[in-house]
């Protein structure tokens, strides 16, 4: 193991603890949006996808590069859209009576 990998491993472990700390505060009501939000975050692999598929010495045919970036892009855009859609549904109790023209 190189010193470089050890540094990265340190970052990884610390990030795991940050993750556990932050996630444990998410209420059960929001567990589905949480899954979806973290799902979108691992779309960060798009960065890796662009770096590999976009390099001048790209190791594989453009078709595979295309599929690679496509998968990651699907993950990012789909993930954030779904999360946004879910979160906009969560509303506190509205005190005023519901206006009748509320529903389409």
């Amino acid at each position: 193991m190189t010193a470089h990998l050890l540094t990265e491993l340190t970052i990884f472990i610390l990030a795991v603890f940050v993750g556990l700390e932050v996630i444990s505060k998410v209420p059960t009501t929001l567990h589905t949006p949480l899954m979806s939000a973290t799902n979108a975050i691992h779309g960060i692999v798009l960065v890796g996808a662009i770096l590999v598929a976009g390099a001048a010495d790209a190791p594989f045919a453009p078709v595979i590069g295309f599929v690679l970036v496509l998968l990651a892009s699907l993950n990012v855009f789909g993930g954030y859209t779904v999360t946004e859609r879910m979160l906009q549904m969560f509303r506190p109790r509205v005190q005023a009576p519901k206006p009748p023209a509320d529903q389409p």
Partner: protein, 468 residues
Amino acid sequence: MPAADTTPASLVDIAYLITAICFIFGLRYLSSPKTARLGNRISAVGMLIAVVATLAQGIVNWWVIGSALAVGAAIGIISAQRVKMTAMPQMVAIFNGAGGGAAALVAAGELLKVYGANGTPTYDVSFTSMLSAVIGAISFAGSIIAFLKLQEVMTGRPITYPGQQVVNAAIALAILVCWGMVVANAPNAIDYFWVALGASFALGILFVLPIGGADMPVVISLLNSFTGVAAASTGFVLGNNVLIISGALVGASGTLLTVLMGKAMNRSVTNVLFGAFGAVKPAAAGAAAKTHNVRSVSADDVAAMLAYANEVIVVPGYGMAVAQAQHSIRELADQLEKKGIEVKYAIHPVAGRMPGHMNVLLAEANVPYTSLHDMDDINPEFERADVALVVGANDVTNPAAREDKDSPIYGMPILNVDKAHNVVVLKRSMASGFAGIDNPLYDDPKTVMLFGDAKKSIDGIVAGVKAL
């Protein structure tokens, strides 16, 4: 490849750091429904910064990357906007699989690059490439099977065959051997890499096959965590900190949820994954064949019961999702609240097919999140409730989990529905729940059953309440 410490930080690395901070704040703001949307947007801005910074780094193959980005964005956004809320678990599974597949391909790309230049990868690179390829491929294939099961393209029942564990163990061993060969730089290491990738894909399929529909909350969380680890691992391969940090955050989140879901079923995660439930099933199903002495009532009877209650607790389960009954439930609650009756919702952690599934469906039907209560909050409340209305939930209400030491679900925390003064169970038929376990709740003298599709039953109750 130790970095020279005196080189000034590049703008790209600074951008990545900002991205990591955005992700952490994004998750932090998910701790309240009030700030959650802001959190998601902060996280999205972080993603945008990272992608723009990466693109600005001097990329060739612009047309490949640009078109792939555009097509992926179009498919992702359109499908995410069109999907029904009840189909959310399978949508999340697909996006998760896409991320896993991408991580595996990134690792493959980096290894191929080294081999293509007739080079020998360092141990660090070969080990971490194998890690992201193996975990990414398992997540990709597993997510596809989870999608097919949730979409009901294939049966949601566990698929088992003799020697299943032996086959899986053999494949896992083959993967480990190939992994060792690649790291040891054996001749033709690249062939071992491909074998490992294929075997991981197969293992992903085979390990989700025996897991039944009701265990999907555990599987989905676990696959989410896998993709996180795979993404972090590509960070090690590429020496990219933002990938490492983000992957670690997701891995931690997925693992935490997996453990929570396991706890909510009183089963260890290994027990869920290695199909002990499937093995118990035939015996339990045999025991369930005993005759029931249940009281079946009409929708009007239930309407009268609810209309004269002071407090009603609704207990939704997967049956509500299947029947799309959440909007009708909301309408019923509106009618009852007009009469001054208090309506609360009791949500079991594993009700439905993914963590928090019921909360999202009820939120879709405009039920305020302040009325949704989790198990620990609501359990003491059942004693005071006049009616517990169980809509398509079964095993999570089964008192046998509390009382019958021989029951396969003994010890699983349940909603104490049987403590309510009256219990109304909406159910399609007398068929037993997913676990094939008898539910003594239905024989309880204070329980009445209303058979039929949950949505139609509730619409009938609403009509009855209005008529009173």
